[in-house]
Structure formats: C-alpha cells, structure tokens
Amino acid sequence: MNNWIDVLFNGNVLAVAGAALAVLMAGIGSARGVGIVGEASAGVVSEDPSKFGKVLLLQALPGTQGIYGLLIAFVIMTRIGIVGGAGVQPLTTQQGLLYLASALPIAIVGYFSAVFQGRAAAAGVGIVAKKPEELSKGMIIAALVETYAVLALLASFLMVSGIK
C-alpha cells in the first residue's frame, strides 16, 4: 500500500520530475512567446516579404527560455547520472527534493518571462514594420525582459551545482 508513496518520494523520481518541469514550463512559455511574435511577424511579412530576416531575429528572442530550461534539465540529468557514463546514482528523498526545488526558478520565471518577452517582441515587430532601421531598439526592449530569465537560469544553475 505504501509502495506508490515510496516511489513518489524516491529521490531520483523527484530529481527527474524537476528536470521535466524545467523543460516543460520554460518550453511551453517559449512556445507561446515565439508564437505571439510569429503572428505579428506574419502580418508584417505579408506586406513586405523582405523584412522576414528582421522579424525572424525578434521571433528568436523568446525562444531562449526553452533552451535555458533544457539546459538546467540537462545539468540535473548529468548530475544524477541519467546522461553520461557514470550510471544512475541513487538519491535520497532530500536530494531529490533539492533538485526539484532548484528547477523551479527557471521553470516558473522562464515561463512568464518568455510570454512577456513574446509580447514585447511582438510590439517590436511593429517597429520593424514602420521603421526597419530601428530593429535593434526593438530587440533591446525585448531583451530587457529576458534579464529575469537569465537570473533565474543562474539561480537554478548555482543551486543544482551546489547540491551535494
């Protein structure tokens, strides 16, 4: 009867759940963000196909959060031995919870910053439509949102690498 509870609080299960969460949340956020910019971009490109390259740069911006999520997941998986030659190491419940907790910053902040960066970048697409030479300003505006994903990535990374 207690079997499933044991499985649930197995350290490795928790750590993998953390890795999955990082990829899931940040990835969903990036997908939404990139989608938002994509919709705006398609409108501009339909008017002027030559702006494709420019709007593509903007569309790529909210994609990084998904990469950060993958990155943390990868670091967790390497540490617990799912990836790489070391073989899976048994973790205590506490260690597993620590991995899970350290995935949270990039998972949650990654999700929201990707969505909001998507909106800012979509507004930047408006800049490209009217003043294509000011593309870089639109990029900087969107990049300011990413700061917090970068900070969350950093926090997650430091936490993961600190777990003994």
């Binding site: 790529a60 990469i67 990868f74 670091v75 990413e146 970068v150 900070l151 950093l154 690498s161």
Partner: protein
C-alpha cells in the same frame, strides 16, 4: 577618436552656376546642406522624377519575379561609367521603352491569368452536361420544349418523375448527378411549358442560362479548352518576352540610380536660397574637409565661400570617427543614439568592454575560430562597404574575443575533444572551467562590471570637469568612488586592517554624500534629507553590478548547449553510422548554437552598454551628419572626371 568637429559654411554665387556647383558639391560628397525652413522653391520639382523612379522600380520587380537571380548575401554593385549614367539626361527613351513594356507585359500576364481562371470555371460548369449530345440551340421540336436545368441534390428526383408522369404533361430525364445537383432535361408540351416550369421552379428547379451557348456541350468545352490552351501559350510567350528583356536589368538599375541622384540634386537646389541673379547654399562640413571645399570654390570665378566655426551652444550634426579597432563599435553607439555635441563619443572607451563581454558570453574557442574565419572570408571575398563592412568587422572582433575566452575557459565546441576521444583527451582550460567553478566566473564578471561602471562614472566626472564643475565631479562621483570600494572592503575584507580601512572610507565618503548631495535645496532640513536619501543610490550600483551575472549565465549556456549537442551526437556510439550521425548533429548543432549564442551575446552586451554604462554619463539626441553625396542603390559609379582633372 571622437565627435568630428564641424565648420559652418555658406556659398553664394551667380544663379547660372547653381546647377554646376551642386553637381560638384555632390561629387565632393563631404558637406551637409541645411534644409530651408521657409517654404521650399517649387522650381525644381522632383515629383516627376519620383514617379518615374517608382515606375522603374516596379519594372525591376517584374524582372525579379520572372528572372530569378541568386542573390548573393553581399552582392557587389556593378560598376557603371559616369558618362553612360548621364547619357540618360539626354536620351532615356530606350530605357523608358523597356520599363513601359515590362509593366504592360506584366499587366497582360495578370489579364491572362484571370482569363484562364474564367475559362476554367466555365468548363467546370459545363462538365456535367457532357453526356447531352445535342447542340443546345437544337433542343426542342415543333411541339415540345426541352429545358436543361438543375435540381439541388436533396430533391428526390425519382419521386418527382413519377409525379410528372401521372400528370402526363411533361417528364424529366437525368443527364448526370454530381452529388450536389441533379442535372436534368425537362420535356414539356409547348402549351404547358410555362406552368410546368413554374411548378418545377417552386420545387427547386433552375433552368440553365442558354445565352452564349451554341453547339453540343462537348464541342463548347472543346472550344473553351482550346481558348485556354491559347491563353496559356500566350502566357509563356509573354513570359519569354519578359525574360528577353532581362539583359537590360543593369540599364534599368542604372536608370533608377540616375533618377535617385537627380532627385537628390533637385532637393538640394530646392534648399538653396534663390533670387533671379544669385543663389546661396549653406550647411556643415567637417573641419578636415574644409580645404577641399575651398579648393572647389576657387575653381569658380563667380562664387564666394564663407567658412566659420560654430557658436558654442549651437547644435552641430554629429559624425563619429574612431581608430580601426573601435570603428565597428560605432554601430552600437549609433543604434542607441548619436551623442549630443556637448557630450563625447563613448565608442572608443566602450569598444574594449564590448569586446571582452561579447567573448565571455559566447566563450568557445572553436566557435570563435569559425566566426572569425567566416567573417574574414566575407571581408576578403565580398569587400562589403559602409555599414555592412562595419558589422562584419564587428562580428570578426567578436569571434576573436570568443576564441580568447574559449581558450581560457577550455571550451572547444563544448566538450567535443573529450567526447570524440571517448573521455581520454580533453583540452584543458588555460585558466579555469566555469562549469566546474561557476562562482569564480561570477566574481570575475562582477569585477569587470565594476570596472565598467566606474569607467562610466569617470567619464561623467571628466565631462563635469570640462564644464568647470570641479566640485560636482569631486562630490558626485568622487564620493562614490571612495564609498563603493570601501563598502566592499568592509563587507568582504579578509583582515581587520582592510575592514578598518573600509569602515573609515565608508564613513567619510557617506558623510560627504549626505552633506553635499542636497546642495540644490534651499531649506536646510530638506538639504539634509536629500543628502541622506542619496545614500539609497547604493542599491542602484548594487543592482548594476549584479546585472553582470548574465555574463556567467550566457557563457554557461553556450557551453552546456554544446555539450548537449555532443551528447546527442554520440548516442549511436563510434561505429560508422554513429560517426556519420555525430558529424551531422555536431555540424547542425554548432551552426545553431553559434547563431543563438552570438545573438544573445550581441543583445545582452548591448544592454550592458546601454543600461549600465551609458546611463552614467551619456546624453544622446545628436543629429547624425548626412553629407550631400552620390547615393546609389544598385550600381557603383566610376568617376572619370577626377582623372581628367589631375
């Protein structure tokens, strides 16, 4: 190494010289012409040229559509002799013919396309009647009307037939049935036709419109198909004709550029003040180019030139000039804003920081080498000009920096050497590997950041001193210069001595801030309060420095993505298939990772410059210097007159 100093100039001359002079000024390409604030002359209306230009551009678009040329990333503009360009002034009929015929041919193509679509829909609508092997006009006899038409598919046609049969007045024969409609022919005695049609119409019958239909359905369809075939033939013929005009592309492009130049000249003439006898043109010219302008004006007997230095508080157009290392980084400054002429050009000071941070954020020696080689190749092969050239060199420097930091941190395509040698040989980091010791890199990033911020504050102090506000420099910047390092010593000093130095330094400088920062307030209490409040600025500096943690995060992300790529690539082991997969994955992954990392590094390094560095001293809003010169889009003009003159 800064903002280029400008001279004002004014040229006055006799009216008959104005066109020639504007020509020469354009070729000189060094002076900016002031726009006249009063209403413009309409003598030199550029409108006609502009509409001509639009037409020519439209013709070029037609050519592009049918005669696809591979566009090189950095196309070299073809050279065109100056004289052949100015030939257009006398005789542009030939090129105008090309343009008109291109535009009319494209219009014809559009007509043909819609004609084909129309024919297709007619063929489609006649298709169901194809079994009717009687000509439409021959339907019917002396006593019987034969009416082709349709019923919607939901009508039960068999029941209807029964019904009509009982009335003995008419009957229906089904020709075909396509699931949407029943195609039928109604036979009816002529005397009853009207009432029969009325009854059937009420049931959903609609008679076929027989106008314009003569012959059997088969023969009509055949003739429509023949017409369509002819149109399609004509389409490819017209297309062929357009293709035959393709060799004239260069001529049309040259014509476009000729028109562009002509429009610029007209606008320049519109900006000249004119009387019946004389003209005046005024503007700006860089100091070092002034001699050339003098030289130019001396050629004319009836032209006078006045050059003078701008007034102190006058707004001058801004042109940046830097040494060859810092020059590419001008694009970063210009993207933010041209500095105001009371400020300085920060490019030269920013460039080394940009170089360092960009490299730290990508930090992979392999990627650095690839990026450097690629950009060097582009520079060598395509010889781009202007902004493109600057941008390529910018990326080239980024690549070099990436290589240096990558070697220091031991990133060679991530951990590729280790993966390929199956764990036996890795390339060791010259300094240390950030993945093993992220905190160390974090501290390094903060230190670089602190230097960056202090440099920005130093520039502010320099500007204040230049303005003569020495006290402001000492109190506003100097106090912070002491306070911030003191606080670091106080909090992180390892020996009591260091902590003490920090303590007293902090007390003295904080006191200086409290006492001086409210000096603009008259009320003594307010003065003290705003002094105390200014200490809150510590949090601002703290968050500025913390912002440099992105250097660590982005550097790590490049390395980890690279090792993700390598891990995926080596999943199939080291047999033949595995090695092919490894190569494919690593090649695609590397291209992807370089692109995404370089984009990230560009955006975030720019942010560090704009938000953390520029905010300390920079004042933008300068108006960029726009010299009046030959601007071409498609061709590059070879100027022969210079050779003749010298």
């Amino acid at each position: 190494m800064a903002i280029v100093s400008m001279n004002k100039f004014a040229v006055a001359g006799l009216a008959y010289l104005k066109e020639r002079f504007v020509n020469d000024l354009m070729k000189l390409g060094a002076a900016e012409i002031n726009e006249r604030k009063e209403e413009l002359n309409t003598l030199y209306d550029a409108m006609a040229y502009e509409s001509e230009l639009n037409k020519a551009e439209a013709a070029l678009k037609v050519l592009d559509k049918f005669d696809r040329q591979k566009k090189a990333l950095f196309a070299v503009k073809p050279l065109v002799d100056e004289h052949s360009l100015y030939e257009f002034e006398k005789n542009s009929n030939e090129v105008k013919n090309y343009i008109d015929s291109l535009i009319s041919k494209e219009a014809r193509l559009a007509e043909i396309s819609s004609g084909v679509a129309l024919l297709e829909s007619r063929i489609y609508s006649l298709q169901p009647w194809i079994n009717l092997d009687v000509a439409f006009e021959e339907l019917g006899t002396a006593f019987v009307d034969v009416i082709p038409g349709t019923f919607p598919s939901f009508i039960r046609i068999e029941a209807l037939k029964e019904e009509l049969k009982q009335q003995m007045l008419s009957f229906i024969v089904t020709v075909s049935d396509d699931g949407e409609q029943h195609y039928v022919v109604v036979f009816s005695h002529r005397e009853h036709t009207e009432s029969v049609v009325q009854i059937l119409t009420a049931k959903g019958f609609s008679a076929l419109d027989l106008k314009n239909l003569s012959g059997t359905p088969q023969s009509i369809i055949d003739s429509l198909i023949e017409q369509k075939r002819q149109l399609i033939e004509e389409y490819s013929r017209v297309k062929e004709e357009i293709m035959q005009l393709a060799p004239n592309r260069l001529k049309i492009q040259a014509y476009c550029d000729y028109l562009r130049i002509a429009i610029d000249k007209k606008n320049a003439l519109d900006n000249a003040a004119l009387t019946n006898k004389a003209f005046v043109i005024s503007g700006w010219i860089p100091e070092e180019e002034s001699e050339k302008l003098k030289h130019l004006c001396q050629k004319y007997k009836d032209i006078v030139l006045i050059i003078k230095k701008p007034e102190k508080d006058e707004e001058i157009p801004i042109l940046l000039k830097n040494n060859s290392f810092a020059e590419p980084f001008e694009i970063i400054t210009e993207q933010y804003s041209m500095p105001s002429n009371f400020n300085i050009d920060p490019t030269a000071i920013m460039a080394p920081f940009y170089f360092i941070f960009f490299g730290m954020m990508v930090s992979d020696a392999g990627y650095g080498i690839l990026l450097t080689l690629l950009m060097a190749f582009v520079l060598y092969k395509f010889k781009p000009k202007g902004k493109t050239e600057k941008f390529i060199r910018f990326l080239l420097y980024g690549g070099i920096s990436t290589f240096i930091w990558g070697a220091l941190f031991g990133g060679w395509f991530g951990d590729l050497p280790l993966v390929v040698s199956q764990g036996r040989h890795g390339i060791k980091a010259i300094w240390f590997n950030p993945i093993d010791d992220p905190i160390k890199l974090l501290i390094v990033a903060f230190l670089f950041g602190a230097v960056h911020i202090f440099t920005g504050m130093g520039i502010k102090a320099y500007l204040l001193i230049k303005e003569g506000k020495i006290f402001d420099a000492v109190f506003d910047i100097g106090s912070w210069y002491v306070l911030l390092p003191s606080l670091v010593l106080l909090l992180a000093g390892t020996t009591p001595d260091l902590k003490n130095i920090g303590k007293y330094g902090a007390i003295v400088s904080a006191a200086a801030l409290v006492l001086t920062q409210g000096r603009n307030e008259k009320n003594i209490v307010k003065r003290f309060l705003s002094g105390v409040l200014s200490l809150y600025g510590v949090t601002g500096y703290l968050s500025d420095v913390l912002s440099y943690s992105r250097v660590l995060a982005l550097g790590l992300s490049t390395g980890v993505i690279a090792s993700v790529i390598n891990t995926i690539g080596s999943l199939f082991g080291f047999n033949v298939l595995g090695i092919v997969v490894l190569i494919l994955v690593v090649v695609f992954g590397t291209v992807f990772n370089i692109a995404i990392s370089a984009l990230g590094a560009y955006v975030h390094t720019s942010r560090l410059q704009y938000v953390e560095f520029f905010s300390k001293f920079f004042e933008g809003g300068g108006k960029p210097f726009k010299p009046f010169k030959i601007n071409t889009k498609y061709v590059q003009i070879i100027d022969r007159s210079d050779l003749a003159n010298e």
